[in-house]
Symmetry: D4
Subunit: 160 residues, 8 copies
Amino acid sequence: MNTPKVGILMGSSSDEPLMRAAADVLEKFDIPYEMKVLSAHRTPFEACRYAEQAEERGIEVIIAGAGFAAHLGGVLAAHTVLPILGVPLPSSSLQGLDSLLSTVQMPGGIPVATMTIGKAGAKNAGLFAIQILSRKDPKLVKALKKYRQDMRDAILATEL
Amino acid sequence: MNTPKVGILMGSSSDEPLMRAAADVLEKFDIPYEMKVLSAHRTPFEACRYAEQAEERGIEVIIAGAGFAAHLGGVLAAHTVLPILGVPLPSSSLQGLDSLLSTVQMPGGIPVATMTIGKAGAKNAGLFAIQILSRKDPKLVKALKKYRQDMRDAILATEL
Amino acid sequence: MNTPKVGILMGSSSDEPLMRAAADVLEKFDIPYEMKVLSAHRTPFEACRYAEQAEERGIEVIIAGAGFAAHLGGVLAAHTVLPILGVPLPSSSLQGLDSLLSTVQMPGGIPVATMTIGKAGAKNAGLFAIQILSRKDPKLVKALKKYRQDMRDAILATEL
Amino acid sequence: MNTPKVGILMGSSSDEPLMRAAADVLEKFDIPYEMKVLSAHRTPFEACRYAEQAEERGIEVIIAGAGFAAHLGGVLAAHTVLPILGVPLPSSSLQGLDSLLSTVQMPGGIPVATMTIGKAGAKNAGLFAIQILSRKDPKLVKALKKYRQDMRDAILATEL
Amino acid sequence: MNTPKVGILMGSSSDEPLMRAAADVLEKFDIPYEMKVLSAHRTPFEACRYAEQAEERGIEVIIAGAGFAAHLGGVLAAHTVLPILGVPLPSSSLQGLDSLLSTVQMPGGIPVATMTIGKAGAKNAGLFAIQILSRKDPKLVKALKKYRQDMRDAILATEL
Amino acid sequence: MNTPKVGILMGSSSDEPLMRAAADVLEKFDIPYEMKVLSAHRTPFEACRYAEQAEERGIEVIIAGAGFAAHLGGVLAAHTVLPILGVPLPSSSLQGLDSLLSTVQMPGGIPVATMTIGKAGAKNAGLFAIQILSRKDPKLVKALKKYRQDMRDAILATEL
Amino acid sequence: MNTPKVGILMGSSSDEPLMRAAADVLEKFDIPYEMKVLSAHRTPFEACRYAEQAEERGIEVIIAGAGFAAHLGGVLAAHTVLPILGVPLPSSSLQGLDSLLSTVQMPGGIPVATMTIGKAGAKNAGLFAIQILSRKDPKLVKALKKYRQDMRDAILATEL
Amino acid sequence: MNTPKVGILMGSSSDEPLMRAAADVLEKFDIPYEMKVLSAHRTPFEACRYAEQAEERGIEVIIAGAGFAAHLGGVLAAHTVLPILGVPLPSSSLQGLDSLLSTVQMPGGIPVATMTIGKAGAKNAGLFAIQILSRKDPKLVKALKKYRQDMRDAILATEL
């Protein structure tokens, strides 16, 4: 695989089945990516360093999935000006309300662009990363339009 | 002003005092923008058309602020592959919980990148738009880093 | 089946088992209906066109079931003055709180009449559609009263 | 005023400033209505009797606004097959979350069509009542379309 | 069984497995009771009549269990000055938050004494009914104290 | 005043303006009561002792109003078999959701009969105390019916 | 085992599988502890006495796990100045939102240091107890740092 | 002032009026402290460095107050094994529900001991810090008991 353009981070290896949906989308669009487990709390140095070095390593967008008090997106955002996409995961008893609010309610100055809780959010993070990349790659605009068309066709072909 | 690169839409003119924070940030970074009132429900044709024509008009990112059952971001997202940033506004009795969930919980396939409820979210939407634009404009990367540095210096200068 | 008077729309084919309850009620009252998958986000043109053409096609009431950030009811309501009945579906981690608020909290000017979350709501949407139709069809008033009587009798016959 | 077609009920006279928005809409469309204070809990006989007699008195739609554990819509719905529109009011410390859930979460069999919490919901109840009445009065369809057009024009005329 | 002193009502026969816990407690204390399915919405006349006649039939306390928009307690309370104990049941997607708020948030003037959501609440309603009855029956005070002592002993005998 | 039959406790003197509504009702019905500030956390011995001695002092019902994590009702209930009525007060940022859940969600075995959040709940606690006392005092049944009648008349006399 | 330094209390023996996580951590760090079932409501005397005597028995920190309206932490805190760590357990329909708010929202003056809902919280309570004990035992500081290092290494060794 | 033993950090200078309550308590107990504005997001290096160096600087406990998606406590906790006390502040539209969940719902391994939302929580954080320090300073145990006694006396002296 080529130099990754998107980094998919998650706070725990148990998040992988949900976060895989982001990777699937990126693969479908032929976007090179890397996927790592890095925790804001248990590997704080590595998480910060990842964010600090991402830009010079060629990463353009970082996707961060986390559950509970999901700080990963915010911690990464504090250490880079790359766009951070946060995916709240429903790991705890509160089924993602905690991770949603921990991710989206960033104070003014340091945004984390937040997606749907769970697998749908991971998928959407992959798509939104491509939408960002498409701003300098017209081929991706075209590919996104085709992807939309395919979704539309699939729905219109539904028979109840 | 030059051709706008960012469109700031809001569902009602009463949203302007909050959404102005997005415009303030864009001005600070010299990003040309336009700001309009367009409602997903009361001006649906115009809202859809705005989204459909935005790309060819040179818009790169759309910021959509709305309260109550905030459908504006989702409706725009359905009609363009440009990145949509949603700002939930606390207009109703539920103080933004309704607009947050209506904006962020997009089903898989059509993302809306969601920001903090209210004025902090509008400011962050402005910053995130610049982060997206910075992916093809290194000057913006530099400007974002300076902005961060200034925030940092302001905090460190605080005397309690 | 005769020309449908009620349109039952849902955002995804996976909603069918819940939304079927609306169809069951309409069948019981011999109301012709049609049932379709149309998404506010993935088939926006078709959803809007459905709403725009419904009146001239003889549709009198539209039932819209959707989960997550449920925009379907609101989008349809923006494109027709026919009564729209929204059924919030518990598809996401938040178990319908998101779809409830996205459906019911419509801003002033464009109502969506919202039902209970889930299957009970689909059933009630079917009944409410009949209540609307009964305003010009006294036979339906009578049938509704009989339906009520039957429910009552079933409860009173319960032995614990 | 002619025989009222719409009954606007509210649980307390303190609800009048919010529920007035329903009456304002009906007046704008020249729909005769009546407005009364009747409580599901404090005047249960009168509330039930109102519902039971409404149909023969010529009422076509009942709008019920209530706060706290808002039972008014459900109690009325249990005593008539006329369409009941529920407006949850933010009277208590919970700012309408209680009245919303008490109104919308009706069990299967007895629907209450629920509107937005508060004044926007009262306005929308008025509009939805007209949408129901329009099913047998094409003039109202036309009037509703004009109302929509006026809302649209007002928004498009907004200058920020 | 002697003339019942406590009426246990529930909105649906599917509530019986949870509401049975109230009956179990009453049996343990030798309090005659009756248990019925009566719905505020589907058998409104019978529910109201039950409340109106309960006092003269010798009922001293009514326990009302219901899910969704749980109006049963409030409707009964409106038709009698006997103490009503409400048990919110977790029947819907919202797992009892809806029934809790619909039961407890009664407006000033008509109380419903509300218990825990679900089976623990049904049990506590049985106990609270006995606490009320004990105000004129010292034997019940003694029996309640013994019951407390037994609970205490059971816990203190726990080995982990 | 005669020996008090009802004890009104509250966790803080700042709760008095809300809890006063319970006393007002008791006065209206000529029920002797006492009102004290006792905190489950700051005066635990006195709170427990109050509960333990209440029965022999002639208290028949205890009303406990508290905000935040409202443990007062539960702590009193653990130390007496007298009926405890809990009034959740909206003292904290969460506006009573915390005190409601802390009061109502008692585990099986030790009930606290919970009222509406805030002033309406204090009033209802007073009324419910009288409903309990009325089980052995027919004059109170009559007085409660008159109170209901007066409420009803007041509403029916309302002119909008 | 030596004189226990940490007391782990829980309101019910059914809490043991979750609270075991606290004990596991303490064992790993060789901290002597005791684990008991004591209920704030069903064994109030024993719970209060435990708190009152804990200090002189050599207990330094108390961990209290409880579900529903979780008063155990607050009741213990009212009877000792030892640090109390509260673990909200998801025992009821509300999945721990009730126990979280009942534990954390202590009024000013009597703190309960609250942990995550459920098993993660029990584990964290064990760790936080050690952090407190480490303030007078440098060996524990070292052991905590090693524990952190091990967590970090485990994450960095993850292969996706 | 002597070498500080407690560090009070807050994410913004606007938090000072609430967080001052922690300082007031520490002063009352003659505990040297320092108070600083440091943001997890806007001054991430300084916040991390503060945590890393706190132990060697003689800090024993860190109190962290923050609003919105309150990551400060968690970020500090990731960089030190000193006890971190989190105070959720009600700065945003959600009135502290966001900061509460962001602070308390820490994943297993890295605890943040969480206090009440707002000013009561800041006060309690000060008290809990002293409870921790008291584990090696019997004079503080005595002072805490006196403080409790004073609170008790103040309540018992209340006249309503």
